[in-house]
Amino acid sequence: MLAHNIYKNSQEILLEADDLIISKTDTRGHITYANRTFLRIADYQEEEVLNKPHNLIRHPDMPRGVFRFLWQELRKGHEFFGFVKNYTSGGDYYWVFANITPDFDASGHLKGYFSVRRRPSRAAIDTLIPIYNTMLEIESRANSQSAADHSLAYLVQLLESKSVSYDRFVMTLQAM
């Protein structure tokens, strides 16, 4: 991918306070809708993202353990809150405070996922970066199959040692 080549000159794109990035995917995680804020910040044309997997914008600095947790929550029918670093098409990056929810039709069948991303608290990002780095380190030491489980186990243990739930943890960070 092109992005990797220019990774070194990667610049951070900052969201505005009232920026609201919205995207929808089908049940397989393929993008079915992206709003103009998404397209503007991630620097894509609509046709470039439609029907593409959402991990199109996934940044290598994001631990896989976080996404493992995300999918665990969504499969349980829960919403997910989290701080996520994303790639733009040009190899820049932007941090978001994401809220992803499963979408069900009237008869209760899963029909896809709805994701709203807002400007994250800077203090939250500063707190999370070392945690994510530790998770990445754990993942780099483990074999690729169990990497996400290992780094997620670390995160779970960390939260347990602070006696705080994941949700309460991220909400508190966002409120900082």
Partner: protein
Amino acid sequence: MPIKYKLMFGLLVIATMFATASAIYRDVFTVELAVILSSFFALFFISRFYFKPFKLALDQLISILKKAKKGELHHRITHTIQLREVASSAWAVNEFLDFVETYFKEVKLCFQRVNQSDFSREARGTGLPGDFANSLDAINNAIIAIKDNQSYTEQNAVTAQLHDINIQHLRSDLHNSEHELNQIQHVVIAVDEIAKANCTQAQQSHLAINDMTQAMRQTTDNISTLRVKTQSLNEASASVERALKLITDIADQTNLLALNASVEAARAGESGRGFAVVADEVKNLSTRTKDTAAEVGNIVASLRKQVAEISSCTEENQTLGFKVASQLDDFLTLFSTLEQNAEQTSARVAEAVGYAGSAMSRIAHVIYKQNIYAALEEIIKGQTTTVSLDEDETNIQLDSRYEALHEEFSQLIDRYLTKQLSDADLIKGLERLESNSNRLMQG
């Protein structure tokens, strides 16, 4: 595009082709007609090409708005590049739907948690415009209110339980206090009886001591008389001794006379012989007289010794008598004080009995009120009440003022139970009676 328009277009095209064909056939096909027809066709195809995106956009907009009208907010217009100039309208609709859908999702998700008593997930209005964000703020405030309300309700439940426990124990405690007070009153009454008995006994003792003092006084008087009498006896003894001395002297002189007579008789010789016998007899008589006087003297001396002993005894008795009399006086004062003390004790005990009685009335009154509240609470909770409303459980004879107040309580409750009073009236009535009760209990 609806089918009827397509049919009309089709008919128009067929009619035009038919008209053209018939014009050619009849050889009336002129250049003008060809121009008109070709412009017509040109216009038709150009307009179809030009208006296609509009039509496409319009079709999608209408379709999406219809779905939104049915409550399906998740549809969007995609592939907007095809819509060209109309794309921005499509995006405007998309973004509006984004706001609406995000808004509803936020509301739904935070209330899902609220339903599980999790108040930590607030609705996020960030990024939503105007009324959307304001409404979410209002919802967050409402959630805080629900949370407060829930904790208030929980607190209430706890305080209600505490209240229940307290009331249950308060009533039994009051009953115990009442029982104890009753016992105290019995004891105090017993003490009163003892105090009264003491008083009577002290009075009786007082009288007895009085009698004893009287008797003692008599006795000492008698002893005084006895002393005087003994004195005169002593003096009489001295007179007797003097008389005896005189008798002894006379006997001695008689003896001497008899001796002289004997001598004279001897001198006279025979003629004096008879006289000498008389002189001997007189001498014997004087000796016997002297002996008898000595004997009487001995008796009198013994008598005097005994009189002296009696005198010293009497003197001792008199001293003792004075001492006893003075002690009896002390006793008299003592019993008089005892009597006064007993009277005071009795008065104080009577006061204590009065206090205990009024305290019992108050406690009985408090128990009565507690029963009323307990019964009301059970009735309001829809339980059948186990508490008696009308009867005082206690056997205490109540002050008439308390009885009147209880009657007022009873009437108020009756009127409430027969729905003549609202809840608010009941509370107001209870507050009024409680303030009367307060005055009564303080006064």
